[in-house]
Symmetry: none
Subunit: 401 residues, 2 copies
């Protein structure tokens, strides 16, 4: 029996409330051997109190040693095995610019490039145009119609844009048209199966028309396409867990990931305080809240240890406001670690705490990498986190007699 | 390679002895935040000494957050993945009254009900008859013959009984005949496939004859049937592990679960002392002994913290008698936790200790929830416990060269 079938069989609605607070990239590393991590360095009296009141552990996002992107990192936390459920690059790019992708869409990452008079690429990034110019060129492309589908062209920044093709029966097994080289023309799109050939035909038509529309616009007079991706077939939170679910996230990517699993996207404002205000205001309307905090990741990516410490302390200050709502279950975790030392996502397990009346106490009274090692949840797979959330919320019946 | 294929490939017989002592529902919770659990409260010098001599850990019965019934809980401990092997309700009910179900049986839970003159149900529990009356009515039903099968009708208590149909090629995909409502007649049985239709036809014939036999016996003049279940296809302990295996259990359900995996059922008497006496007396006849202790669960289910503590202390007193036999491997664990605070089974991991000359020592010198967190076995899936038992007993050869 699969995890999802098990969840559907056992789930019950008892009116309890679950809050999942994802501090993106929260886990870290010491800069010098034997030193403290960012989280261990930060003064976090409220997170420490929550660790003391609840149970702690370490979440493994995918498998030991495997570093996830934001997509797999969050799918795991939401209870979708990231090795089974994959989000294509095009879809992730569309989610990242807050485009509402849907089930009939194939999303594709686009780059403007410079084409010579012979149609061969002379610059794969079109001389890195400004984002203003990107927007202007995208607006020209929006005039293109291709029979048999709806087209959406969206600017990202500089030479990057997103193309979404919406239609019936479109496959995504289509090659990148970017040849990854100059001195050759962009490749034609080809589909690996009938449905994907349908996509390829539409795309080739679009590209031919785009080349016509942009022919006087050198150095942004051509384009290449990569990462063709259909909208993933994925059960919604409501369908899977029976939870009325809402996301309170500031950044588009995380709203998009939440929308992918059917959460309502609430207006989060743009600070932790406005997020907590929204949580309070919507408390009675939902059973499950996903709060996303970005800055523990972005400061880690910047390699700024001291700033990551500050952002952790800012997170800590928001905890009392959340706990005051008395969620049945409060979980604080991350989708992965982002050690400042590495300036990137990493594979290290993620410190996790869970507060609930049913949490079995451990001896941990501090939220940190070393302390969570002694926690009652042990090392667990991120894909099991929602089982722990549902179990501690009393939302599962007994399995078997 | 499946776990069972691996076991079959590696197993060796070295004459060693394994004792698996299951303290049902042993794990618990503190009543008040920060307090001690039942097991931590109990004075358990002998279990603590065993924890010190051996290695400890925490067993996850099914998956994190999932609470098992007794069936899945024990199947896991016996090394049968509880998500793969399922025991139907009817079979479990039959096991619970010590009925020897076999491979040709479909077992069904029955309720006596009251039928009006129009054949519609007026009381789904037949006015809750005494168990004496239940037995009397069952005896009348035992006179019924249906061609093509053997029938067994067994009283449970009050309005409940078990019906077992024994025959060739009988399926169990049959609907409940209980409409879960009054004012309507019982439903006819229908099979979802040819084998199950065969069962349904036999059952419908039985019900028609029963209605005739009971027509003057209002309020116990009708019956409904639920939980049709075939005997699960399951490898025996002998076949799987090559172990001559015996169960020493007081309660029928656990004898039944042991019989399901092919263990011999020994006369256990009705106390822990008679169980240990039986263990001694049968020591030379078997390689593997499953001892079941019920009262850590039943006191937890009653919500009686103090009584559960006493029952744990009674268990502790039995440990020296078992260790005196010098089993190659002694394991003490539970099939799940049953915190008095919850008055029910729970999902919390189960404290486990394993004593063996090959146990790698950890720093744990106490058998309890918090202490086992630091144990050398870590958090492990219950379905892997028998691998640990066989390994520590020296009963596995090397995997690969």
């Amino acid at each position: 029996m699969s995890q999802h079938d098990l969840v559907r069989e056992l789930r019950e609605d008892n009116g309890s409330k679950i809050v999942l607070l994802v501090a993106d990239g929260i886990g870290g590393l010491p800069i010098t051997p034997g030193g403290l991590t960012e989280l261990e360095t930060a003064k976090t009296p409220n997170l420490d109190a929550a660790a003391k009141d609840g149970v702690t552990g370490l979440s493994l996002p995918v498998l030991p040693g495997i570093t996830p992107g934001s997509g797999p990192g969050h799918l795991g936390l939401f209870g979708y095995d990231p090795l089974e459920y994959r989000i294509g690059r095009g879809i992730l790019e569309a989610l990242g610019i807050n485009f509402s992708v849907g089930s009939k869409d194939v999303a594709i990452r686009g780059n403007f490039c410079t084409l010579g008079s012979d149609g061969k690429i002379t610059d794969r990034r079109a001389g890195r145009p400004t984002t203003e110019r990107c927007i202007a060129i995208v607006n020209k492309l929006r005039t293109i119609k291709v029979p048999g589908c709806e087209l959406f062209v969206e600017p990202v920044k500089e030479h990057r844009f997103v193309l979404v093709i919406r239609g019936e029966g479109l496959g995504d097994a289509v090659n990148d048209t970017d040849p990854q080289a100059v001195g050759v023309p962009p490749l034609a799109a080809k589909g690996a199966d009938a449905a994907s050939q349908k996509t390829a035909d539409l795309v080739n038509l679009f590209v031919a028309k785009a080349n016509e529309v942009l022919k006087a616009d050198a150095p942004t007079n051509g384009l290449t396409l990569r990462g063709f991706a259909s909208y993933p077939k994925i059960a919604t939170f409501q369908d899977l867990y029976g939870l009325r679910s809402a996301a309170i996230a500031v950044y588009p990517m995380y709203k998009g990931l939440a929308r992918l699993v059917g959460m309502d996207i609430l207006d989060a404002g743009d600070t932790l305080q406005t997020q907590v205000d929204r949580l309070k205001a919507s408390w009675n309307d939902y059973d499950f809240f996903f709060l996303h905090y970005k800055y523990t990741d972005s400061t880690g990516e910047d390699g700024n240890f001291a700033e990551k410490v500050k952002k952790i302390e800012a997170l800590d200050a928001a905890i009392p406001g959340i706990r005051a709502l008395k969620p049945t279950v409060l979980i604080v975790t991350g989708d992965h670690s982002t050690p400042s030392k590495m300036k990137s996502h990493s594979f290290h397990p993620v410190p996790t705490l869970l507060v609930s009346d049913l949490a079995r106490p451990d001896d941990v009274a501090e939220y940190g990498e070393r302390s969570c090692l002694r926690g009652g949840l042990g090392h667990f797979a991120a894909k099991h986190l929602m089982l722990l959330a549902m179990g501690h919320a009393g939302r599962f019946g007994k399995y078997g007699a």
